[in-house]
Symmetry: C2
DNA sequence: TCAAAAGTGTTGACCCTACACCCATGG
DNA sequence: CCATGGGTGTAGGGTCAACACTTTTGA
């Protein structure tokens, strides 16, 4: 139901207030070590030069998802990034220039496999824990997105595409540790992952990080699908 | 970050498209038996006379939360209902009249303790499982809200205020069964609830449903607070 | 031969599930 | 005395967390 002149029986949408609708993109990235977030330097007043999320305004003929995709690409060159909605922020004065409601989207990507081809806006990765303060309510948005990400990581095998195609258990563990900002016992971690039965262990080893070398694994989409109904439940 | 004329260094928000922003309220209620949802009859074209969620447009000077509260009150008389955001729906043609983006909010209330004082819009409770088809994308909104509600019920002691102040285990079980649309074993249910340690068992019995009578319980806010950190985890 | 990372199993505690019978009472 | 709903306990299996030592090999 949408109504305006409440309780009227004849109705004209055009009597209603219209507002600016924006999207802001919280792009998390992983670089085999830290959970990072992508920020750009705001190119106009107010708050020109400050670090900010990638964001922009919704156009009349696109969905919020489309807007997020378009805007992300236009500021960074990042393409084909699937984002999920986080929340919509509507504090009246969240943007000092003009009433703007903003819907936040997030994604988690592999830093190495996506290049920031547009350098114009100084797009840059920051450790989540060391990121600068952001403009407006963007810090709050990041917090919400982080919560959402963790929820997600707890219930679905998220993030195997953040790693190289072949990865070591150690790398996978680092990813989960970065997402949860904590440490896991490696034996328990491996057991948990094994129990999920969604990986293939390869014969190859990665020799770059130790003399002994560590076995490589691959995410197995088939297996994962087979496990789909069984509830995935990774608790930090 | 909000931008419009992308990549411009001087910037005027007013060049941007503005759209109508609506809120739709998914009000779940419980009547000691079924999980219900509150619908009203749409009073204007298009889809006049069809069942619809309670909804309306955001005004410039209010937050979405405020709008949800105002609109819910204006159509039903319901007051003091705390709603949570579900999602924002932005399909370009979701409303055939005009481009409208809508943010859905939900709440869970005790039907008996809140009266629908405004009869003008035929506000009516429907069993979630037997509700009529709704206009626009409202069915989808309800599905999202239901998912959110279950998530919530799984991780927090939700819904004790849906029951009378004093309630029986049987009633509480019915509530959880309604939310999850399933059946629980009563012994296991009681054990689980006891383990949470958030209820007081009273000396009184409710004699209305059986000859033996069943003990009444009360939600104990103190205890609940004490358990707060410990993770609550109710799995259907 | 040593340093550095990889790999590996077990035990105890707890939790969850499945399951069936007696109790109290009003009629 | 009986029909109805209320109440109760346990045993077995599975899961989780805690925990320390051995292996490999390049330098």
């Amino acid at each position: 139901m949408e109504s305006g002149n409440e309780h009227a029986t004849t109705y004209q949408y055009h009597a209603e207030d219209k507002v600016l609708l924006a999207v802001d993109c919280i792009i998390f990235g992983f670089d085999q070590e830290d959970l990072k977030i992508l920020l750009i330097k705001r190119g106009f007043e107010p708050e020109k030069g400050k670090w900010s999320l990638v964001g922009g305004f919704l156009k009349k003929e696109e969905t919020l998802e489309d807007a997020a995709t378009r805007i992300l690409k236009s500021y960074t060159g990042l393409d084909d990034i699937y984002m999920e909605q986080v929340d919509t922020f509507s504090e009246v004065n969240r943007d000092p220039v003009e009433r703007t409601v903003s819907t936040a989207y997030y994604a988690l990507i592999n830093i190495k496999e996506h290049s920031i081809s547009n350098k114009q806006f100084s797009a840059n990765w920051f450790s989540v824990s060391k990121a600068p303060h952001l403009i407006f309510d963007h810090d709050k948005m990041v917090q919400h997105a982080l919560r959402r990400l963790r929820n997600r990581a707890a219930t679905e095998p998220i993030g195997f595409d953040l790693l190289p195609e072949k990865f070591t258990m150690r790398q996978l563990q680092k990813l989960y540790e970065a997402i949860w900002d904590t440490q896991f016992d490696k034996r328990n971690f491996i057991n948990k992952i094994h129990a999920m039965n969604i990986l293939d262990k390869l014969a190859e080893k990665d020799m770059t990080t130790s003399r002994k070398g560590s076995f490589l694994y691959k995410f197995d989409a088939e297996k994962s699908k087979a496990q789909n109904d069984k509830s995935f439940d990774f608790k930090g």
